[in-house]
Symmetry: C2
Subunit: 528 residues, 2 copies
């Protein structure tokens, strides 16, 4: 049963007089539950508990934090069908997708638990002192990554599990040793409450300090920005729109005495470059693969392929005919919420009316049913290059084909691209090598470059980079998916001539954690 | 012979009609040379060359980049006494200090060359594909750090070699594969030109592309900010005042279409906490050590110990008497430039007039000779806690003693501290352990914590963190000194299912560079 309350640490709280309800696009009505918007005092309570929890939590052994993360995964699974059903109602996403997203979410928690048990993520570096050095002795210097303090996390509507309450940012922030305060996403408040209750149960079962996790219900521009500006919040994780992301980023820099890091993943249209030989030889397979990627989950993926670059010839024409036909055959699907649906039709309309844009396929407007019909537009490279409006994200099952007259036009069109999460290159190895210049340009714009595949599908593993140059994110040095996401919510600290009694475990001569360290420049797991 | 020209890549250029001269505080007059302020066209020329150079430079083998860095060090040494003499005239710093700073600067270049030859700094991570995985195959994912593009660097006046033209930021940016454009520091334009000429000679001798290095003469608020706002500049390194640093940081976030990372090291007053037992047992040695650190280089170090915390008792009184006497005995020294000197007297005056501040020692005003006389002020913790003005940096040979009535006051005083580069704790191991709470608070505020030493003296090595929470820097995740500084000017990129033909060396199965990599979660130097 949903209470509609906030969680101030382990305590349920609904002091406010205002509430929010969730509109279900699949049910085409408001769901019955009311969720209490957190008051300023409730926010202060959550932050104050987080600060106290931090003092204890940061120093808890990694093994205990790992147990906490694994327990969260267990408690999420223990919610069973209730969670899946609520998420279906709130997100309009189908059951199979949500079951697999739940698996990804628990897998993510387990990965960070594994990372903590292994321990090397702290990047221990040691330079042993040289007291005999002339003219001055060299101090003993030891450094490692440490957590920052309370982190505020804003989840995304399109991944109600994997990028929300117990998503990647929460998992990595907790793993690194930071308490987390989630601003619950307004379009899946029930899902949020269920997942949050699982986190709290896990925290209680594994003996975590009260305040290691809280969540607040509220509106982004009010509750959200209050959180961002609060002096005790030390970093922000955000996944969502460009507008909201930039509001947070600017507030974190301009409206605080002490600016804090903001990891905002915002907008990406994920260019796909198809080279001539593949258009000639694999036209049908390619068009099927691309349409599936464009329309997957009603196109509501940050890695949705929104731009297709090709050099115009008879094979490209054949390919586009096939692509158009398959787009027309794709089924409309219910979107996440009203605003996502409204924006989809608004932005596809805006793009369709730009200079030189040709409509290859435009499904009928199904806004009344909150469904997205697919869209395939086309424009000449010359028009694309001069018009940045054509790089506005159409969040949904839409793509814009950029037809290039020749390699020179292609190069210029790629050069005009904004920062992206991904780029995809489809071609034979030798052919891609011939287009090395294009590959270099694409690589300079993205966090991940996919060869002969599609950009959708983001593996949770060690080598993933789910991030990229602005405006894809506010910080291209980071990833929101994969093991290295743990580094977001950390900073290095160096201990100079620290008495052995006081040296943190990770930096002790004996290397009791048996982690990989850089000692006097050499990588080693051996003791000193 | 100094030409007064800018360097647009390998070309000397002085198209402008305005010039700057350098005032020598030691000579008490303007030096005769005129330096041409770069025109907008010259800046565009440098940036355009840097962009072209980047396309070539980024892909050059590490060994060649390492040769370039070593060659810069050689060419700097080859400048011989001319460089030292010019720097003495321009900075007022003594010869021995400048010789040792030159050694540090060349050592820094050699360290990055070593790092490049070793190669593991790219943080290669590989997850090999699992084509047989069900329900979906796992892609092959490989990631590494790559350079960003042209970097603009603003040096500091207080380290005309080590934090300027060929300083840490230039060395790390070049090492990572980025072309560098230096905005020459206005107070050592001749030193800058000599060092820049050494860099250019090294670039030519080692076959680096024209444009890998340029420098521009100009004023910070004009030329400097134009550089910061230029769309082709991808990151900023800065060391200097809070005001200038924040102007750059805000411009990089607010006045650009695409915000860029800014690594600004700004202001730090480096608290020193002396615990009771040491005050009792080592009063004389401690006061000597501290006075030496406070007055070193006329106190013009970012790690100068500007705050001394102690708990009031009869031993602290004895210590302060000794400290005061030794401060009074310290010799005034010439400061770096007019503005540093003016600011020193202005800020010490401002602090001395704050509520509750007692003057233990205040040397006479020697502004007419551009000399700093030392200053020792004292304030009660209760006054310190409520007055953030007392945390304004007095850049020069000054320190403020914060007398705490008891441990509770000490804790609160430490808690009120802003972010710092360093904190120092002086005490016996068991005693420090008893003050664990204070140690934790200090650790949360700083990038480096020094035990039983002084904060001045920043070792160039692998484990150094010369950085810290705001306002010490704009990005506590980074260091400006030591091997990890190379990470500032990089970001990760991931290659998904990359054809073997196109995989970068660092990520090839064979591990031809023999670097340490994380392969399927395990650290290894073995091939796959």
């Amino acid at each position: 049963m949903l209470s509609g309350y906030n969680r101030i640490g382990n305590t349920e709280s609904g002091e406010g007089s205002s509430t929010l309800e969730v509109f279900s696009t699949i049910g085409q009505k408001n769901l019955p539950e009311k969720f209490f918007i957190a008051t300023r005092e409730e926010m202060e309570g959550a932050i104050s508990k987080a600060e106290k929890a931090f003092a204890v939590y940061k120093d808890m052994p990694s093994a205990e934090k790992a147990r906490f993360l694994d327990a969260i995964a267990e408690e999420i699974l223990a919610l069973g069908d209730e969670l899946i059903e609520r998420a279906m109602l709130e997100s309009g996403l189908p059951e199979s997708r949500l079951r697999s997203e739940r698996g990804r979410t628990t897998g993510q928690l387990n990965l960070f638990a594994e990372l903590l048990r292994e321990g090397s993520w702290v990047e221990a570096v040691i330079d042993t002192g040289k007291p005999e050095r002339k003219p001055l002795p060299q101090a003993d210097l030891r450094k490692m990554l440490v957590p920052l303090g309370p982190v505020a996390i804003f989840g995304a509507s399109n991944f109600p599990f994997a990028f929300s309450t117990a998503g990647g940012d929460t998992a990595s922030a907790l793993a690194a040793g930071n308490p987390v305060i989630v601003k619950a996403h307004e379009s899946h408040l029930g899902t949020n409450e269920l997942v949050a209750s699982a986190i709290i149960r896990a925290a209680e079962k594994t003996g975590m300090p009260d305040g290691v996790f809280s969540f607040l219900v509220g509106r982004g521009p009010i509750t959200g920005l209050q959180l961002v500006k609060h002096p005790s919040i030390k970093a922000i994780g955000f996944t969502g729109s460009y507008t909201a992301g930039m509001a947070i980023y600017r507030a974190a820099v301009n409206d605080r005495k002490v600016p804090i890091p903001v990891f905002a993943e915002m907008s990406s249209i994920n260019p796909v470059l198809i080279l001539p030989s593949k258009l000639e030889k694999e036209s049908e397979a390619l068009s099927s693969q691309l349409v599936a990627s464009i329309t997957l989950g009603a196109g509501q993926f940050c890695t949705n392929p929104g731009l297709i670059f090709l050099i115009s010839d008879k094979f490209s024409d054949r390919f586009l005919k096939s692509l158009t036909q398959k787009m027309a055959e794709s089924s409309p699907a219910v979107m996440l919420n009203e605003s996502v649906c409204r924006n989809y039709y608004r932005t596809r309309q805006a793009t369709a009316h730009q200079k030189g844009v040709i409509k290859l396929w435009k499904g009928e407007d199904l806004q009344a049913e909150y469904k997205a019909s697919s869209t395939l537009l086309q424009v000449d490279a010359r028009d694309f290059i001069v018009n940045p409006e054509l790089q506005s994200e159409i969040f949904g099952p839409a793509s814009l084909v950029v037809k290039c007259g020749n390699e020179q036009e292609l190069t210029e069109a790629l050069q005009s691209l904004h920062g992206q999460l991904t780029a995809t290159v489809i071609g034979e190895s030798n052919e891609i090598k011939k287009f090395k210049n294009c590959l270099d340009i694409l690589a300079s714009k993205v966090g991940r470059i996919v060869f002969n595949g599609v950009p959708t599908g983001v593996e949770v593993c060690y080598a993933m980079v789910h991030g990229g140059p602005f405006p894809a994110t506010t910080d291209a040095r980071s990833t929101s998916v994969g093991a290295d996401a743990i580094k977001r919510f950390t900073r290095p600290i160096c201990f100079q001539d620290c008495p052995p009694l006081l040296i943190p475990e990770a930096l002790k001569n004996e290397n009791p954690l048996k982690i990989m360290r850089r000692v006097n420049g050499q990588f080693t797991q051996l003791p000193i």
